[in-house]
């Protein structure tokens, strides 16, 4: 039962399966054999198209060349997310990937900004963030010396294929087929093999469940259990649609709030990914489809598909000799583009904790503890966007406003509201500047803040703020337009878009 782990079987392809395969194959090459089982019959969800900066570190570790990857996945750059209408219906803010201003040790930069406001120096927090300003101007450039922080928009299905080619070069064996049966050890319950419809039997020492919402191994076989978060995350449906790109691709994702959820726009090199996330209690599937079709620009490429989901998390993501990654581990709506990230961190964690000599309980416990900690913090960050709103134009928003949120989130909101105090917990994904941008953007005005800036004279503070602002503005000015940079750097050579028919987001 508890034997050396040599043969790893990944059940399911898609982004989760192939990210896992690529990482394991590259890092543990020669130490394990990897087989991935996927069925062309079962579609993958394939709407996870926006990412966050840690993906770049991941690509560096497994030595993926950026230009090659972007060309193959029709990718564009992403400097952040533009949240429109979340605060009061007609507002807009950007949660950008950069650092805000310059922070001395004793007191973070935003306190200086707040003191500036008090003294009549009007500015937006985003003025002090390079990525924010570049996004606003649709500019982008990167180089080996550049410090700009960014991620990508990519087409998930194409990215998966890219990683499949990569993994197969490192020896991953792909088996086409649909899983019919799962064989378990009679006493321990450990999984021994997967039996396909064709009758082929795939045996393994360790299994990774990337079978999506079904959780074929972790749930249908091992009955691990699911913790439901529907009382905190009330959206439970999404309808996705890809359209022809109209206008140049902007370097950010757009998230536009509506009366029962929100809508995304993710620009790729040659097309636009669109989606509508909603709560089925407040909007029917037909209404959602109509709403989405009415809002998109450009011709639809495929039929819109409705996806149902249950926000929540598997009670344990590592159970016996199975680790669940991707949708099999749980689901949080893509409001902050965390889905692919969680697969990357999940497989990285597994590699560091790899059970070479056999599965032992301390490994499982440590893995599950880290995974749980990670997901709860992300969950809180998402709930924040909904709960802290001034909107009351529908039952949906009123329900969110009146919601009793997790204590872990409530105390953060209190601390910021009272004292502009913000922090990052250990191993937490979202840093202080992320919390600040969203809380300020959603309308929290701190009652008080750190007084250290008061030791500066008006003149000095004005100078400090102006210097940062101007340095950023100068740097942005030098940058080329995003779509021009993309064409030069990693363009796939598709027809460029018609500039005149572009929808313009509300002015900030």
């Amino acid at each position: 039962m508890n034997r050396d782990v040599r043969r790893v079987v990944i059940a399911g392809g898609g982004t989760a399966g192939w990210v896992a395969a690529a990482a394991l194959a590259h890092q543990l090459h020669g130490l394990i054999d990897i087989v991935l089982v996927e069925s062309d019959e079962i579609g993958t969800v394939g709407v996870g198209e926006s990412t966050i900066p840690p993906i770049r570190a991941f690509h560096r570790i497994i030595q993926i060349d950026e230009q090659h990857f972007m060309r193959s996945s029709s990718a564009t750059f992403k400097l952040g997310i533009s949240f429109e209408g979340w605060r009061n219906g007609s507002d807009r803010y950007i949660h950008a990937f950069g650092i805000l201003g310059k922070s001395p040790w004793a007191c973070q930069f935003h306190h200086f900004w707040l003191d500036g406001l008090r003294r009549g120096i009007r500015s937006k927090i985003g003025d002090y963030c390079l990525e924010f300003k570049a996004a606003l101007e649709n500019k982008f450039a990167t180089s080996p010396q550049s410090k700009i922080n960014y991620a990508y928009h990519l087409e998930a299905a194409v990215y998966a294929k890219f990683l499949r080619k990569f993994s197969e070069r490192f020896g991953v064996k792909r088996v086409e087929g649909k899983i019919k049966n799962v064989e378990q050890h009679a006493e321990s319950g450990f999984i021994e093999a997967l039996v396909l419809e064709s009758g082929e039997r795939i045996d393994g020492d360790f299994f990774i469940d990337c079978t999506g919402f079904r959780g074929l191994l972790i749930e249908q076989t091992l009955r691990t259990g699911y913790e439901d978060w529907a009382h905190w995350l009330i959206c439970d449906r999404a309808v996705a649609l890809q359209t022809e790109l109209v206008g140049p691709a902007v370097p950010y994702t757009r998230s536009i709030a509506h009366e029962a959820g929100w809508r995304w726009r993710i620009p790729l090199q040659h097309r636009m990914g669109n989606g509508l996330v909603y709560c089925s209690r407040y909007m029917s599937d037909d209404q959602a489809i109509d709403k989405l079709l009415g809002a998109v620009e450009g011709a639809a490429i495929k039929e819109p598909r409705v996806i149902r989901f249950k926000p929540g998390h598997r009670r344990r993501v590592w159970n016996k000799n199975v680790v669940a990654l991707g949708l099999a581990s749980g689901f949080i709506e893509p409001l902050e583009s965390t889905s692919i990230h969680l697969v990357i961190t999940g497989v990285s964690r597994l590699i560091r904790l790899f059970p070479f000599g056999g599965v032992t309980q301390p490994l499982i416990d440590h893995y599950n503890k880290e995974a749980r900690n990670e997901i709860e913090k992300i969950r809180d960050f998402i709930i924040l966007h909904y709960h802290v709103t001034e909107r009351d134009d529908s039952e949906f928003w009123r329900e969110y406003r009146n919601m009793k949120v997790p204590d872990t989130l409530a105390c953060r909101i209190d601390a910021f509201r009272e004292r502009a105090h913000v922090w990052r917990d250990s191993n937490e994904l979202f840093g202080e500047d992320s919390w600040i941008q969203v809380m300020v953007g959603q309308g929290i005005e701190p009652k008080r803040y750190h007084h250290l800036p008061r030791v500066m004279s008006d003149h000095d503070l004005r100078r400090l703020l102006a210097d940062i602002k101007h340095a950023i503005a100068r740097e942005v000015e030098q940058m080329p337009k995003h779509h021009e940079f993309v064409n030069r750097y990693c363009g796939t050579g598709h027809a460029s878009a018609d500039v005149s028919r572009q929808s313009v987001p509300p002015a900030i």
Binding site: C107, R352, L353, F354, L363, D365, W423, H450, H451
Partner: protein
């Protein structure tokens, strides 16, 4: 935005805690606050906290201290780590140094390479791959802008307090001599309003910092914060301390922690003398016996004899209550086995600076401060307990009880994980990093039964070469360094300086 309502800050108590607080507050927030420190010469300070942890260097940068001047004034020396003697077995010795071991990769920590080599029979000592450990063992030291070595200090706590007092007063801190006899609270809220001294003098304040030591006059006697005891894990409850002449020709750049039958003894080298003390448990031995053990293990003549100290290991349930924060011994006590007392003071003060309540009380802020303080204390506690739990000694009831005791779950799960997999995952905010856990676990003879297999990607030859190259380079670098004594003489000895703070 509300105007600043907290302006008058009163620090109750001097000593290291009081003057570190005064120096930091006046340096960082001076123009915004009026700071008064009350201390009484009648009440002695504990003054044995003489070894530190590398975080002291960044704290000193915050205070704007010049290293050479500080070392000269406090007769300080360099600390590269702690030498633990007789802990896992009598006769054992290992060093917990401040260095990193080898070079770790993203995939996993370096020690897995060493464990793999050990299994193949050619590893050598773990410490061969650690620069600071090798330097410590050779009694060498050197630092400069270009040279990267991780270190801390030993210093005379009383001289340190005096030094910080001079700097604080220069920055406007008002010093009041006197003994606190009464604390006046607001009748409704219970917030502290003023302190009344024996002389009748009354000191008003908006915010109070309790540095009154074990007595915890404000946080406990007045505000009744409560204390969580840890005696079931940490048995020691007394200490006697001495200072002797420094008898040897050579000054080791490390603290020594020598385990005895019912406790342990520290030896801390300063430029002009040696500090030593015996920490022990009255449940297993008597004061007389403990004193005899100390006297039997001295070098040099006794210069100063300090009083007997009684303590209860544990932590104040809330470090911050209403308008009072406890810093130093008033916030809790963990024996100085890993020199954490001054770190806890500095960390608490740094936290207070970042969360300073300019506009008055904030529930959310206080909760966050207390939570961070609790986590910090508990993690350090666990690391200390490890030294006792992971023993093979059974020569006295004291050691048998240590070996057999239950430990907190947070420590038990780390021990289990290491034993079964060789993996160590401290939290990023932990004071003690992977290399600290590793050196102590290995030194205490805790053997993992497995390890990460990434080293198998190298051939036996490649692995051997990697380890040998690393240890050869380290040895060569250490050989070039001057001795610790030479370094001190050249860098910061009393003869060097133009002025000596008295």
């Amino acid at each position: 935005m509300k105007p600043q309502s907290v302006k008058k800050v009163v620090i109750a108590g001097g000593g290291t805690a009081g003057w570190i607080t005064a120096a930091a507050l006046s340096q960082q927030l001076g123009p915004l606050l009026e700071i008064t420190l009350i201390e009484s010469e009648q009440i002695g300070t504990v003054g044995v906290g003489e070894a530190t942890f590398p975080t002291v260097l960044s704290f000193h940068r915050l205070l704007g201290l010049d290293e050479r001047e500080f070392l000269r004034v406090t007769r300080g020396s360099i600390k590269l780590g702690i030498s633990f003697e007789n802990w896992a077995r009598r006769g054992d010795r290992y060093i917990h140094s401040f260095g990193v071991i080898g070079r770790s990769t993203w995939l996993g920590d370096f020690h897995h390479f060493w464990l793999a080599a050990k299994q193949s029979g050619f590893a050598g000592e773990l410490g061969d791959c650690c620069f600071e450990l090798q330097a410590a063992q050779a009694h060498k030291f050197f630092t400069s802008e270009k040279s990267k070595i991780n270190y801390a200090y030993h210093f005379d706590a009383a001289l340190y307090a005096r030094y910080l007092r001079a700097r604080s007063e220069a920055k406007g801190v008002k010093h009041v001599e006197g003994k606190i006899v009464r604390v006046i609270q607001h009748p409704d809220t219970g917030f502290i309003q003023s302190l009344v001294l024996e002389s009748g003098q009354r000191i008003d304040g908006d915010f109070f910092i309790d540095c009154t030591g074990f007595r915890a006059v404000l946080i406990e006697q007045t505000l009744k914060a409560g204390y969580e005891e840890w005696s079931r894990w940490l048995r020691n409850d007394r200490a006697i301390a001495l200072q002797t002449d420094y008898p040897l020709d050579d000054i080791p750049p490390y603290t020594r922690a020598i385990a005895h039958q019912s406790g342990w003894q520290w030896k801390i080298p300063l430029q002009h003398r040696q500090g030593t003390g015996h920490v022990y448990s009255t449940a297993y031995t008597t004061d007389e016996e403990a004193r005899r053990v100390l006297m039997d293990n001295l070098e040099g003549d006794i210069r100063v004899e300090l009083q007997l100290l009684k303590f209860r290991p544990g932590r104040r349930r809330s470090a911050w209550v209403k308008n009072c924060v406890a810093v130093g011994l008033s916030s809790g006590f963990i024996e100085p086995l890993e020199s954490t007392s001054i770190h806890l003071i500095q960390s608490g003060v740094a936290r207070l600076l970042r969360m300073f309540p300019f506009c008055g009380y904030s529930e959310a802020l206080v909760r966050e401060y207390n939570k961070e303080s609790q986590i910090e204390y508990e993690r350090i506690r666990d690391f200390i307990i490890l030294h006792y739990k992971a023993t093979e000694r059974d020569d006295t009831p004291y050691w048998r009880d240590c070996r057999d005791m239950d430990v907190p779950d947070t420590l038990a799960s780390r021990l289990d994980l290491f034993r079964e997999t060789g993996l160590i995952f401290p939290d990023p905010k932990d004071l003690f990093r992977v290399e600290s856990w590793l050196q102590v676990l290995t030194g205490q003879r805790v053997q993992p039964t497995a390890y990460h297999h990434m080293p198998h990607m190298l051939s036996s030859e490649e692995l051997r070469t990697m380890l040998e190259t690393l240890s050869t380079n380290i040895r060569a670098a250490v050989a070039k360094m001057p001795t610790h004594k030479e370094f001190l003489h050249q860098y910061c000895s009393v003869e060097q300086g133009d002025t000596v703070a008295q």
